[in-house]
């Protein structure tokens, strides 16, 4: 019998839970406010992904999925080939080694955007750039691939729910019909939020893997570098904010104590 092994414990065990724990709007505002105040450079990336998300919100993803059936087939095929290749490389003991960017990420993202009905647009190049930065090791490559699987499956699940036949409960209890429709709509909304959060995570995680040569942030905070790449946790967001607040508080105390010391010294001089 097979048992779960630990060498790959960094993979998420329950990928959807973290993304659904907080509403997407809250997630976005928290993450971007935290990131933007530390590194102004990330503002460009955030606006890029805001554009992507708003585009995805405007369009009916499930309708795009139905119209682009061939596109989804391409996405799935590419992801599966990539999966087989990466799994075998990792199992051959190459974990942790540098991985070479070979255009596969670009291809998958292009297929995904096309399947979502977004196709090539102004957000494609920044997205490609972020993916390249985030795929320098096999571990990060696996994270990216995991994200793409979840993005595809989440969208497929949305479409399947939209197409699902009504509940086959006994016909004499018609009272179930509205509640079923409400449940489906709620699930659709939840699924759409998951997708938005996943897209957002692409930006956030790619941002956190920027080269070390980047100038230090204005507010010195070690919290972003401590963020585990997987699994994500909403508590990380609170961690960043709390850290900044504590730092601000500490700074205020230091300034206040300096002022008090100066006043005390002046008083001593005046008394003398």
């Amino acid at each position: 019998m097979l048992t779960s092994t630990t060498p790959y414990s960094w993979l998420p065990s329950n990928p959807f839970l973290a993304a659904t724990a907080l509403s997407t709007s809250t997630l976005l505002s928290h993450r971007f406010s935290s990131v933007a105040c530390i590194r102004p450079k990330s503002v460009g990336a955030s606006s890029t992904y805001s554009t992507l998300i708003s585009e995805a919100q405007r369009r009916d993803l499930t309708q795009a999925w139905q119209q682009q059936g061939r596109g989804w087939s391409n996405v799935r095929r590419t992801l599966m080939k990539w999966t087989i290749d990466l799994v075998e490389r990792i199992q051959e003991g190459e974990e942790g080694q540098e991985t070479t960017y070979d255009g596969r990420q670009e291809h998958v993202v292009e297929l995904l955007l096309a399947a979502l009905g977004l196709k090539r647009c102004s957000i494609f190049a920044p997205l490609q750039q972020l993916l390249m930065e985030a795929s320098s090791t096999q571990r990060q490559e696996a994270q990216r691939l995991e994200d793409l699987w979840r993005l595809m499956e989440g969208t497929c699940a949305l479409a399947a729910m939209r197409n699902a036949p009504p509940n086959d409960a006994p016909q004499q209890h018609q009272i179930e019909a509205p509640s079923h429709a409400q449940a489906v709509e709620a699930e659709l909304l939840s699924g759409q939020r998951r997708i938005e959060a996943l897209v957002q995570d692409l930006a956030t995680r790619a941002y956190h893997t920027e080269p070390a040569s980047t100038p230090p942030p204005r507010v010195q905070s070690s919290a972003p570098h401590k963020l585990p790449l997987l699994p994500r946790s909403i508590s990380n967001i609170s961690g960043i904010q709390l850290h900044i607040e504590v730092q601000s508080g500490t700074r205020a105390i230091v300034v206040a104590s300096a002022i008090a010391t100066a006043v005390f010294a002046l008083l001593v001089i005046a008394i003398d």
Binding site: L2, L17, R76, E88, E146, C156, I175
Partner: protein
């Protein structure tokens, strides 16, 4: 406030109680099984058709696990020709779980290795569409372990049972042979 009486004599409380019961029963119900014959990658030789016509192919008999929530059924190849054992499609098996794990996370978490636990090619017996899309075929015993690890063991119990069922497309003989010995427990629960 008193429960509103409906025309058929049921109150809201009765209806809600009934729907809850029905929902619970529906959750426990095993997913329905199906039988499919899917064109395989193997070409049927000695075809008398015109050369311009698409080539005839052998049919691969599969048990399918239909799930209302997903359009892609889980397939279990019951053609005995690959190696005398059944193979199960991994990607659609993953979709049964909620939330669905990716094939990559399953392969790495259980340390499943090609040749020992899974294959991508079954000597042409795999369905043609799955070849196009790319699929990972788990050995039956491994598929049961994956179902257990992803929490879909109960829904897929009959589908992944040890029942010795096989079917074979005899090609130019124009017939398909079935030899199914269904497990009694699975037979009661599934509509084979």
């Amino acid at each position: 406030m008193a429960d509103q009486q409906h025309q058929d004599g049921w109150t809201d409380a009765q209806a809600n109680s009934e729907s809850l019961t029905w929902a619970k029963l529906a959750q426990r119900r095993p997913a329905p099984l199906g039988f499919r014959l899917i064109p395989s990658e193997r070409l049927l030789l000695h075809s008398s058709r015109r050369s311009s016509a698409p080539p005839l192919r052998y049919l691969t008999p599969c048990l399918s696990l239909e799930d209302d929530a997903h359009q892609a059924p889980v397939l279990r190849i019951i053609d005995p020709s690959p190696s005398g054992e059944s193979f199960v499609s991994l990607s659609s098996l993953c979709l049964l779980a909620s939330p669905p794990p990716s094939p990559m996370s399953v392969l790495l978490a259980l340390d499943l290795r090609r040749g020992q636990h899974w294959e991508t090619s079954l000597n042409g017996a795999e369905p043609l569409e799955e070849v196009k899309n790319g699929e990972i075929w788990l050995r039956l015993g491994v598929a049961r372990d994956v179902a257990r690890a992803t929490g879909v063991e109960q829904a897929a119990e009959a589908f992944l049972s040890e029942s010795r069922a096989w079917s074979l497309d005899e090609g130019h003989e124009g017939s398909i042979v079935h030899k199914w010995v269904c497990d009694s427990k699975a037979g009661k629960r599934a509509t084979c």
